[in-house]
Symmetry: C2
Subunit: 150 residues, 2 copies
């Protein structure tokens, strides 16, 4: 996975006697499965298969993305790395930390993208233009690499 | 609505130029749309249409239930009142407070029941037997009624 992202694997609690009947339950606790306080939750649904959403990065906000009821692909990138992650299972989440640009696409029918966020909404924390993001992200990841090499 | 329950209405953010394309987004912030700190999130999915879940109450835990991708019905009751609530929209949630017994049923295909909870999991906070719940709930709601009458 690229810097400041990682896959999280959650529990999938099923009744061993009758899993198809009672279905699945996944619990996510702040500070345990989710590596931050859950200040905000949002969900995106009813997105056309050809639509793309996202196109932004955050200075500090951390998020976990989970796809329920279908699948979605997430393109995460920095000035130095990129990756496309497919989310399609309730027991896995994509952690995205600071200075990662994200674009979500290929929403399937019935897909809901659930996002847990570490902070309240703050427009000042957003980069909505890749041109504004790029030099700051280069500086951020260059310093991060330097620090990890010392 | 019965005591210690209420419907919450959330924002449904759509792009006014192209709602069918970009879909819907609902944000839920702890202390704003959600009347408590969000300590835990869980979701239930893949439940058979004929299955019932729930069958418990809590001493203190508060929850908000939201149905994504389909519909579900929730039977909430106390020793003195009961109601059946249908959840089918991303912009509405059912708040359930202390000492309310709940049973969820009629899960539709593709339905995910998302639950936001005010506390970490604590088995001591559960009533899992209606027989154990009943006398304590009678005492709780009797005192609550008395307090609201004075």
């Amino acid at each position: 996975m690229i810097t400041n992202t990682r896959m999280l694997h959650f529990r999938d609690i099923r009744d061993p006697r009758n899993a198809a009947y009672y279905g699945h339950l996944t619990p996510l606790t702040a500070g345990k499965e989710i590596p931050f306080d859950i200040k905000r939750v949002y969900y995106i649904y009813g997105v056309d298969a050809s639509a793309k959403r996202g196109f932004h990065s955050h200075r500090e906000l951390e998020q976990v993305l989970i796809c329920l009821g279908g699948s979605v692909r997430v393109h995460v990138k920095t000035p130095f790395e990129e990756e496309i992650v497919t989310l399609s299972k309730g027991d896995e989440g994509l952690y995205i930390g600071a200075y990662v640009w994200r674009e979500m696409f290929d929403f399937s029918e019935h897909a809901t993208l659930l996002v847990l966020a570490s902070q309240d909404y703050d427009e000042q924390d957003y980069y909505r233009s890749y041109e504004a993001y790029l030099p700051d992200a280069i500086a951020y990841f260059s310093q991060k690499t330097e620090e990890s090499n010392t």
